[in-house]
């Protein structure tokens, strides 16, 4: 973090980093991005799971999903492509094998999920509603709607509204809707989700990208295209979060290329109530701990007693 030139007079008491999103209380605004943190357990050796704002689990579907053929990942300049194909254990195995561990940890659990049809989305929502350990859900609408010839729910306002409505009806939990950045105007989708009953928005998911091995002349991932994540996409993410914050009244969770506290602060300043950290977890499994510490340090340096003073404090 670029240590500001001028002097700063540190305030006495520790700043409050607590935030609330869709009724979910968090110790601080830092949580993992779905699919980059497994089911939490994998990171316990490297990170205090009770030191982060929430745990967001790998995208879940009704039935187990095989995922894509390999290679599934490729490193790009300051980023990575992934086409995991949403491989996951399915709701039943999640409840049976993954939840018990999470139950013991004093941090809210947010379950990210998806479906291939409206019915599947609704069914998963119903199943998750009955689980007390689930503090809230994050709806991934960046998936093709098989019934509608595979057009991606999240890229069409009508389709997006429809799936959010279905889930809202079936769900008895706080609902966070996660948006795809691969759209002309993300505010249209955000408003559609808000009107359809979303309690919060998280954005962004990955930008669709591609890389080619010039010697083999093959795409570097088997699925041809994949999702671009990492620091490379941060400026696009900050722009979209800035736009969405102005378009909706519900809280927004900022995601995209956050590696350091400074990066997270950019999102908070443009108005994100919290942030999710994805690819950085691979680079440093302890990253979120350092980000929380760095945010606290920044608040002290800037005499901010409550993180909420910082949120949306962008000067224009």
């Amino acid at each position: 973090m670029n240590n500001g030139q001028r002097q700063t007079k540190p305030s006495e008491r520790r700043p409050s980093l607590a935030v609330e999103i869709a009724g979910i209380r968090m110790k601080n605004p830092v949580m993992p991005a779905s699919g980059t943190f497994g089911y939490g357990e994998e990171f316990a050796p490297f990170l205090d799971l009770e030191g982060i704002g929430a745990i967001v689990t790998k995208g879940l579907s009704l039935r187990p999903k095989a995922g894509n053929p390999t290679p599934r990942i490729a490193e790009t300049v300051s980023g990575m492509l992934n086409a995991i194909g949403l491989q996951n254990v399915g709701v039943d195995a999640f409840v049976k094998h993954k939840l018990p561990y999470l139950r013991e940890i004093n941090t809210p659990v947010i379950v990210n999920f998806f479906g291939n049809t409206l019915e599947e989305y609704a069914e998963v929502a119903r199943r998750l509603s009955d689980i007390p350990e689930v503090a809230g859900v994050e709806l991934n609408i960046s998936c093709p709607n098989v019934k509608q010839g595979g057009i991606v729910f999240g890229t069409d306002p009508r389709a997006a509204a429809e799936v959010v409505k279905e889930v809202r009806r079936a769900l008895a939990k706080p609902l966070i809707v996660k948006l795809s950045p691969n759209v002309t105007d993300i505010t249209v989708i955000a408003r559609a989700a808000e009107e359809a009953g979303a309690d919060a928005i998280s954005c962004i998911n990955t930008l669709t990208g591609m890389a080619v091995d010039i010697r083999t002349r093959r795409p570097r991932i088997a699925n041809r295209t994949g999702g671009l994540s990492g620091p490379a996409i941060r400026p696009v993410a900050v722009r979209m979060v800035h736009q969405v914050v102005q378009a909706v009244k519900i809280p927004v969770i900022g995601i995209g290329g956050i590696m350091t506290a400074a990066d997270a602060l950019e999102f908070l300043i443009v108005g994100a109530t919290a942030v999710q950290v994805g690819t950085a977890n691979f680079v440093d499994p302890g990253a979120m701990g350092e980000i929380v510490a760095g945010i606290e340090r920044f608040c002290v340096e800037e005499n901010i007693g409550d993180i909420r003073e910082l949120i949306g404090s962008l000067k224009l």
């Binding site: 497994g38 994998e42 995922g67 490729a74 992934n82 995991i84």
Partner: protein, 285 residues
């Protein structure tokens, strides 16, 4: 299993394009098993973004710099310079700050002692076999079949010999040892020691051949695989390999980083290993 924020103790080229690095890692040795690996972070800043996976060649310790200090425990890796990350690694000097995540993954199952042990290494694939050999030699006769393209790809053989391992070197161009493929040597050895247990690491084409041979001879085989990895801890699902009986309906993907990198041959679906490699440019070893 920890993330060691530590320093390089030494880093030298041991053969054209191959380097050996010792990294300070107190307590690492006590937890590391043969066949496990680390995720190495070259520097705090980019590039590269992702860590690089490397097998543990060995662990050890050096005498302290001053009286009364504890010995300097280290983890040692052998790496081949193939691209951006390893090119940056080659430039590291004593004292440079790096990070080591590990020990990671499931290592070798040493099997019944007394049994004939045949270790098959292709190029840089010999790395995970050293610690295996070290713990096997006491209780079992151990043979290392070491193959490479040229003499430059034959590494650390003398170190295996010092352990008391019988080594057999073969190179594609005959520039060292016998000319030909290591798999030919394996066939001869298995004919001679039909009850042996085989442990292999190397390029996928070699592993596929070794698997066929061992299946034919009905001897147990363990292989150490490579795959593209982002996290190394089972979170990203980027490193999967198809398990036996895998199909779209009954997916049986195994995580190379967590359920591997060492697998019993019968755990895996060998049908299209080559076509759908975990690593796209095919093997670099």
């Amino acid at each position: 299993m920890r993330n060691y924020k530590t320093i390089v103790l030494s880093n030298q080229e041991i053969s054209p394009g191959y380097c050996r690095m010792r990294i300070l890692a107190p307590g690492f040795g006590a937890t590391a098993r043969s066949g496990q690996f680390i995720m190495f972070r070259v520097q705090r800043s980019l590039p590269p973004l992702l860590r690089r996976p490397f097998g543990i060649f060995r662990t050890g310790s050096l005498p302290p710099d001053c009286e009364g200090q504890p010995p300097k425990e280290y983890v040692e890796i052998l790496y081949k310079v193939v691209g951006e990350g390893t090119s940056l690694m080659r430039r590291l000097h004593e004292g440079d700050r790096v990070e080591v995540l590990g020990p990671l993954g499931r290592g070798f199952d040493e099997g019944p002692s007394g049994e004939e042990k045949i270790l098959v290494g292709g190029g840089i694939g010999l790395v995970p076999l050293y610690m295996l050999a070290r713990s096997l030699v006491g209780a079992s006769p151990v043979r290392l079949l070491m193959g490479g393209r040229t003499r430059d790809d034959i590494l650390a053989v003398t170190e295996f010999e010092r352990l008391g391992v019988q080594t057999y070197v073969s190179t594609d161009d005959g520039s060292l040892g016998e000319e030909g493929l290591v798999t030919e040597v394996l066939k001869r050895k298995l004919a001679k020691y039909p009850g042996a247990g085989v442990y292999a690491c190397g390029p996928m084409p070699m592993l596929e051949a070794v698997q066929k041979i061992c299946a034919a001879h009905k001897v147990p085989l363990q292989v150490s695989l490579e795959a593209l990895m982002a996290c190394g801890v089972g979170a990203c699902l980027g490193c999967v390999v198809k398990g036996k009986g895998h199909s779209e309906e009954t997916p049986r993907y195994l995580c190379t980083c967590k359920e591997g990198p060492v697998f019993r041959a019968e755990q895996l679906d060998w049908s299209k290993m080559g076509e759908e490699p975990g690593y796209c440019e095919g093997c670099k070893s």
